[in-house]
């Protein structure tokens, strides 16, 4: 009796405080998600009033689709390079900007700015840089690497996307690393110095282990963001030249809305969700294990 009462009490407290948020979460996230999964079993084209149930056919065509598979591999490659480079650049920036250089606040906000520019706008700016500015420089100073637009060559276009991705995200990650660096207790560093550890040793053996939580967050954020990138992809290359830089989100979108194959597109999206969820959860699990306490 007493137990039941406490349950009701708990529930009412929960409803009072978290009810509205739960309600919103269920209606705009959970229900559409479930409905989306339902649609993967249908042949809906996105607009018609009727659709029929076709079982696992859509999933079958996802696994048979070579374009989807290629685009998936390309995305893995993109995520791999962008995540590593973003975090290296972000950490280096953070390290430099906490070491007391002149005007470090100005630099901090400067490096953070790209994160405030919308992806589409940013994509168009870089498109102009890659296909006009750099080509102009290349032709006038005889630099063969810039003499033709990077965006018209599949390999270079891929690296152009990596560069823009790194440029966009590293400022944000830098802020997280800066806070991580500043939270390393000064007494431990001091103790290490007294024990005779040099700057590099202090960084490897003291600062880095203390900063694992920052790495967990940054790698998680960059993984999730790069897997889902769409706006920069659209504005910078539009998947071109000849679909060679079409990342997974764009493939899914095109399948659903351009090819008007909503069921298959939804199935691809669900598959993508499973992959991203698995990868990020595994990453968070292992990074958490590495965290230490001072």
């Amino acid at each position: 009796m007493n137990r039941e009462k406490s349950f009701i009490k708990k529930l009412s407290t929960y409803l009072v405080f978290a009810g509205p948020a739960t309600f919103a979460f269920i209606t705009v996230i959970i229900l559409p998600f479930l409905f989306g999964i339902y649609l993967t079993f249908t042949d809906w084209n996105g607009i018609s009033s009727t659709h029929s149930f076709i079982g696992f056919k859509n999933y079958l065509s996802v696994f048979q689709d070579k374009t989807f598979f290629n685009s998936f591999l390309l995305t893995i490659k993109y995520v791999f390079f962008t995540v590593i480079l973003t975090n290296i650049v972000a950490f280096l920036l953070a390290f430099i900007l906490t070491s007391g250089v002149k005007g470090q606040n100005l630099f901090r906000s400067g490096f953070f700015t790209p994160n405030l520019i919308g992806g589409v706008l940013l994509g168009y700016i870089w498109q102009f840089i890659f296909s006009n500015v750099l080509v102009y420089i290349g032709n006038n100073f005889n630099l063969p690497i810039f003499s033709s637009s990077w965006l018209s060559n599949p390999d270079k276009a891929f690296w152009a996307m990596v560069i823009v991705g790194v440029w966009q995200y590293s400022g944000y990650m830098m802020i997280i690393y800066i806070s991580g660096l500043m939270n390393v207790p000064k007494d431990i560093i001091e103790a290490a110095s007294i024990d005779g550890a040099g700057g590099f040793r202090r960084l490897i053996n003291v600062t880095l282990p203390m900063m694992v939580p920052s790495f967990t967050v940054c790698i998680f954020l960059s993984l999730q963001r790069t897997f889902m990138v769409y706006d920069v992809n659209l504005a910078l290359t539009k998947g071109g030249p000849f679909k060679s830089t079409e990342l997974i989100s764009m493939t899914v979108y095109n399948k659903a809305f351009l090819s008007q194959d909503y069921g298959v597109g939804q199935a691809q999206a669900f598959f993508l969700f499973l992959i991203v969820a698995t990868i990020t959860l595994v990453q968070v699990y292992f990074s958490k294990k590495m965290e230490v306490e001072a």
Binding site: S12, T13, V16, F17, G19, P20, N45, G46, I47, S48, S49, S131, V135, S148, S149, L151, S152, N153, L234, K238, G240, P241, F242, K243, N254, F257, L258, S259, Q260, D261
Partner: protein, 449 residues
């Protein structure tokens, strides 16, 4: 203490109710607004005579370049019909109109008028109004309703006729001593390119966009299979069935031979994929290049550079060295945008208002002026006698008048331009040879919906 706790709980609860109620009242407000917008379905009969009541309708515009002109048209329409207010919604660049309309339908807020590509109309047949009894049906140009006549019912209004081909710069051709009307074979075209080059200009611009290469250029090889529309459709069905051998197909190989030759004279030969639509427009409009494969929709941008309404025209893409072959004298011309009227989310009054707007476009002086003079659209109606001012539209009208047109392929699967476009881009940049191209095109069609 306990009393305080309970009090705070109650307070929080009241707050929450307040929040929910706030949401709720907003909802009811918006539904009542919607009811207003849908013309108060219930009070239809009682207020029919009430002239103060304003019927609000929206139109989805999928030709972003004429958004301003359409808004102006809507304003003019409302001036003449003060009880109808028309809002124009645009499908942003890069967004497919089909996606836009599926979102609007999903929200239960479909526009009364939807401007869409021909291939989208059959998908919406169960949501669109049957327009077979409209006045303008009688004045519609030949074949302009074929693509949207389903089960004998006309489902949409033909809005814009467009054409594509080689746009030429008359001044450059005169200087080079080339007569565009005399070019009837691939060989003639190559000679013309050489002459233009000798005169000190770039010969040709090839736009590397997928929608141009596979949306407009390659389909010429489909359209020239036969002068009979039904046979062309049969050809597409055979492609889907996988029973066409493109390797041995004459119009296809003829067009590709021309394309191979064009690649040699392309002004972006060194880096064919780097060219952009904007740089093409500039090259054409400012008189750097003699020929460019494109359609009349690009006129406003050429005009920005050329600043005169003359000096440009269309020329067919030759597909063989026999001047008498079908297609060597005709350019693709067809209705590329249709407007359908929704009957699911819009009340009968709104549907009537939408019909009235279409009629206004075709029969009122102002509406005609908007279409032809302001928006540079070639109408698909025989009763509109206004002459277009831009030279490209004029050129298309001449081809139409002399019957020298081929089918503008608009009923291919919706992703044809993007999928096959990627293959064409590879071929343009010499990444693949013709056999691989043929393989990719055939594979696409076999898997197409």
């Amino acid at each position: 203490m306990k009393g305080f706790k309970r009090l705070s709980l109650i307070m929080a609860f009241v707050l929450m109710i307040g929040v929910l109620a706030g949401c709720g009242s907003k909802n009811t407000a918006s539904t009542s607004e919607q009811e207003l917008a849908s013309g108060n379905k219930q009070s239809d009969s009682s207020s029919a005579s009430d002239t103060n009541k304003v019927i609000e309708i929206t139109m989805l515009n999928s030709k972003g370049e004429i958004q301003a002109q359409l808004e102006e048209a809507a304003k003019a329409f409302t001036e003449e019909n003060p009880n109808i207010k028309l809002d124009i919604v645009v499908a942003e660049a890069g967004q497919s109109p089909f996606e836009k309309i599926s979102v609007m339908y999903a929200a239960g807020n479909a526009p009364a008028l939807a401007m869409l590509d021909p291939v989208d109309i059959p998908n919406l047949a169960d949501k669109f109004l049957d327009l077979s009894n409209e006045k303008w049906i009688a004045d519609a140009a030949n074949n302009s309703l074929d693509n949207v006549t389903l089960d004998g019912k006309v489902m949409a209004f033909p809005f814009a006729v467009e054409g594509a081909g080689f746009i030429y710069n008359k001044a450059i051709l005169d200087q080079a001593g080339v007569d565009p009307t005399a070019i009837k074979t691939t060989k003639d075209l190559e000679d013309a390119f050489n002459k233009v080059k000798a005169a000190g200009f770039e010969a040709l611009a090839i736009s590397p966009m997928d929608w141009s290469l596979a949306g407009h250029f390659l389909p010429i090889s489909y359209a020239t299979q036969s002068s009979n529309f039904a046979d062309v459709n049969k050809f597409l069905n055979n492609l889907k069935a996988g029973s066409v051998d493109l390797k041995a197909n004459k119009p296809f190989n003829g067009l590709m031979d021309t394309f191979d030759m064009m690649k040699q004279y392309n002004m972006y030969k060194n880096d064919p994929l780097a060219a952009t639509y904007e740089s093409n427009q500039q090259a054409m409009g400012s008189g750097e290049v003699g020929f460019w494969f494109m359609g009349n929709w690009t006129w406003p941008q050429i005009y920005e550079f050329a600043q005169v309404n003359e000096g440009f025209g269309f020329m067919p893409v030759p597909i063989s060295n026999n001047p008498d072959d079908y297609g060597n004298t005709g350019i693709p011309v067809g209705v590329t945008k249709y407007i359908g009227i929704d009957k699911v989310n819009n009340s009968e009054e709104q549907q009537a208002a939408a019909k009235q707007f279409l009629e206004w476009l075709v029969y009122s002086e102002k509406g005609q002026d908007m279409i032809v003079n302001k928006a540079n659209i070639i109408p698909a109606f025989n009763n509109i006698t206004l002459e277009p001012q831009d030279p490209l539209a004029k050129s298309i009208k001449e081809y139409m008048a002399s019957g020298k047109t081929i089918q503008f392929m608009t009923t291919m699967p919706a992703d044809h331009w993007a999928e096959v476009g990627a293959s064409m881009q590879k071929y343009l940049s010499d990444m693949i040879d013709r056999n691989t191209l043929i393989e990719e095109i055939e594979t696409y069609w076999k898997n197409a919906k």
